[in-house]
Amino acid sequence: MTGSFASMREPTYFILAALQDEPLHGYAIVKRAQELSNGRVRLTTGTLYAALDRLTGEEMVRVAEEAVVNGRARRTYELTQRGMSALRAEAERMAAAASVVRDRSVRSTPAAGWVVPA
């Protein structure tokens, strides 16, 4: 599964990640993506909806509900099975990439009795 999706951009990853627990509307996705990325991903509205259009076209996200709030249309989006698979594949890809560095730092920990110069 890992190889079936190309690597994603960080905003796309966090948009999908924001939707993994429950369907959300635009503003909630922006806030959730910011929380999940520790404030690093600050989506602009233009970027968010361009990404949602693209993800809807790729059948990774779909409109869960359409409602009218304060006289304006509000759509709630949810992750599809394909979107969940792509998200997991990307997470596994990044975990595998991280393990290359983590495993190496464990192996190269100084052995007992070996003195590191001050």
């Binding site: 999706f5 994603m8 602009t44 233009g46 970027t47 909806y49 076209g57 304060n70 304006r72």
Partner: protein, 304 residues
């Protein structure tokens, strides 16, 4: 309506009308919710809306896969080459028209300079409407007419010496040939619906009138200068539409191949070369920059 909402509504006009009808309300709600009591849109938000709107208008936002991007870039390149070719050849008919209007009936003796732009026009119309077989036939006939106009119709003289390649030493020769190669590739690709075909004949007519060297503008360097200006614009707009630098690069091949043919023939024939190294270096630098921009923007656009 608050001042902030009015400003956001104005920025949302960057998007096409159909898109606004579907999305504007929803986007406006998100924009206002994320504004945090600001009185005016942030520069970052405004830039994202303008870029998003332009991408939606050009259709670049719908080119998700590499194959869709490649196919669209190929079609744009073929059409742009035909417009460029028409611009290079339209000076003849325009000059004839100006002469006839000012001095009365006039027989120029040869009609190649009318036949070639006419064939290019047919190729442009056919390609714009998606009739690629007809467009290829017209483009190949254009190449043959160009060669025939330079060397006559006796086939035994066509490739007997480097002198027979003199038509390929000028940029006019290459757009029709490159366009026929691009169209040939399009013919083998899955057929996609054609949108706004009228854009291309209108663009061709405007470019021919404004840029073709003729008594109207009296500017012989207009096509090359405008090509370099287009390449610069294409590099700047690459983040919005990755197809732009690809098209610019393909168009720049015409003067580059003409220059290469000239150098090759000069060496073969032992001619005294009149070559500006600065001009070659500038052309090469512009091509390298457009190539880099197209590679980076293409990879970025195809990524999810």
């Amino acid at each position: 309506m608050t001042e902030l909402e009015r400003r956001y509504r104005w920025l949302l006009r960057a998007y096409p009308r159909a898109y606004r009808q579907y999305r504007a309300d929803e986007m406006l709600e998100t924009l206002l919710a994320t504004a945090d009591n600001a009185r005016r849109p942030s520069l970052r938000e405004a830039a994202a809306l303008v870029v998003g709107g332009l991408r939606a208008r050009t259709g670049a936002d719908r080119l998700g896969s590499r194959s869709a991007l490649g196919h669209s870039a190929l079609r744009l390149s073929a059409l742009s080459l035909l417009v460029y070719g028409l611009t290079l050849w339209a000076g003849g008919p325009i000059s004839l028209l100006v002469t006839v209007l000012s001095e009365g009936p006039y027989n120029p003796g040869t009609w190649w300079f009318i036949v070639i732009p006419a064939l290019l026009t047919i190729a442009l119309f056919a390609a714009a409407w998606g009739f690629y077989r007809l467009a290829i036939a017209a483009a190949i006939l254009t190449v043959a007419a160009q060669h025939g106009s330079a060397n006559g119709w006796d086939p035994s003289f066509w490739f007997s010496s480097v002198y027979d390649l003199q038509d390929a030493m000028v940029p006019q020769f290459w757009p029709a040939l490159l366009a026929s190669l691009a169209l040939l590739r399009l013919l083998r690709a899955p057929r996609t619906p054609v949108t706004k075909p009228w854009t291309w004949p209108v663009l061709g007519a405007a470019a021919a009138l404004l840029l073709a060297p003729s008594p109207i503008n009296g500017w012989s360097d207009a096509p090359l200068m405008s090509l370099c200006a287009f390449a610069a614009l294409a590099v700047i707009t690459a983040p919005i539409d990755a197809r732009m630098p690809i098209v610019a690069l393909v168009l720049l091949l015409a003067p580059a191949l003409a220059q290469a043919t000239y150098l090759l023939c000069s060496q073969q024939a032992g001619w005294e070369m009149e070559v500006s190294i600065t001009a070659i270096l500038i052309l090469a630098a512009v091509m390298v920059i457009t190539l880099a921009a197209s590679a980076i923007a293409g990879r970025r656009q195809a990524r999810l």
